[in-house]
Amino acid sequence: MSGAAPVPSGPVVAVEKLSVTARGNRKLLDGIDLDFAPRSLTAIVGPSGCGKTTFVRSLNRMTELTPGLRIDGRVLYLGQNIYGRSVNPVVVRRRMGMVFQRPTVFPMSVFENAAFGLRLVRASEDEVDSAVTEALQRAGLWEEVRANLDGPALALSGGQQQRLCIARALAVRPRVLLLDEPTSALDPAATQRVEATLQRLKEEIVLILVTHNVAQAARVSDRIAFLHSGRLVEVGATGEILERPREPLTMQFITGRV
């Protein structure tokens, strides 16, 4: 697929000693170190409240939308600290797109939803047209909506809406896509289609998938990072983690006991 720029040799995202502290000195994340290589799908798993959502939100500075959070440590995007003084969070979010638990389409046409990020940077009509088509194809939605691009996005099914959200994020050609439990509001068939989309996308860009569903992580990820109480307990290849976890806590989680 043409969208991606040349693949860098080092990690695309490197997280160094990342801590997130809420009001009252409550640590949501505690000293996380984790690298993300190009063309990979890492599943972030862990029990509710372990900090996995906070983790992905801190990767593109969405944490700043929640008042009272303090961030320590560094998140390097191609070697540049995204929390650096002269870095604009808006620019960071254009490089690292985000997809949420519930589909969040806007009340506009399918086309305009996919074009949203491009309109923000005043892309030309030709650019918008080709980028939207490409994004919808990459998100695996093109065949279903090509005849009805001007129809309202809110009329799509939940699964289609979620893939449209993926297309909206892809249209600005990010190197990283952050997915926060993207299938938790979808039925099994829609989930399967989103997962198929993710499996294709991981050949192109960095995917970071938060999920509470170990079976989903097993199906789509190359690597699993297990978080517990704000700490990174263990990270490793998906097969390793599922079959031979080093930590007893990981074992307890994947067997459904935490």
Binding site: V90, M98, V172
Partner: protein, 304 residues
Amino acid sequence: MSGTALAAPALAASDDLRRDRSGGVWRRTWFDRIVGWALPLTVLVAVIPILDLAYWICVRALPSFTLATLTTNPSGAGGGLYAPLVGTLEILLLATTTAVAFGLIGGLVTAEYLDEAGAGVVRVTANVMAGIPSIIVGLFGFLAFVLAFGWGASLAAAGVTLGVFMTPYVFRATDLAYASIPPHIREAALGSGARPIQYLLRVATPIALPQVLSGVFLAMAIGVGETAPLYLTTSAAAIPPSGLFVPAGALSLYIWEDFQNPLPGAVHIAFEAAFLLLVIVVGLNVLVRLIGQRARRRLEGLFQ
């Protein structure tokens, strides 16, 4: 689970379905029926006086209502309603401009930019403002615009005073419209790399606009019939205003004055003015419904 829970639950005293009155089943059924009848009845109680009023206004206004009523100026206890009709529309235009300027900006800032405490203070203030009797708003307009600003009894004074009266309605509609946008929509927009102002203009405003517009038209429907804010700030001029700082007549003022006028025929003018106001108010309300319907179709599924 143990195996002892197989006995029939204690509640089912009898298996005769027609005689089972346990748990107040019959009482509840009857209560449901009574409420089911009472509710439409209360609607009827509310609707009948309105229809009755509208009917009698029509009956007393229409026989003498001609095209000349709309095109000629009032003269003594006769003539048409051209001047007050124009005056009403001009006052309303000025008032709406004022109310939108303050109410829209206030509502937007409150919903989007203020923290919880600040927004609370503004909302309480606006609610208090909406509760101030309209004659007191009129008195405020008299003291501020007519006297202190030196505008005299005029179109400007009446328009701005009525605008002050309408502001809390526009404020409330705007605040509610923006504050009720689901937070995940905001997150998605910002997560797509939108600057906050881009979110506001491209995503939030198209969602909130119908509700804001409805609020504006509703404020107009409430404001257009108000007499008290105008009573001290303009006078029942018999010709259309020639500028901002000359008195402008208004339909509501003509109803008030002509209804008390002992001259024969004056009361007809009052009813004709009432009829015109009724048409404007009904028209504005129909507009509000239409906007609401279109918006519901467009935004269906967003607020789940």
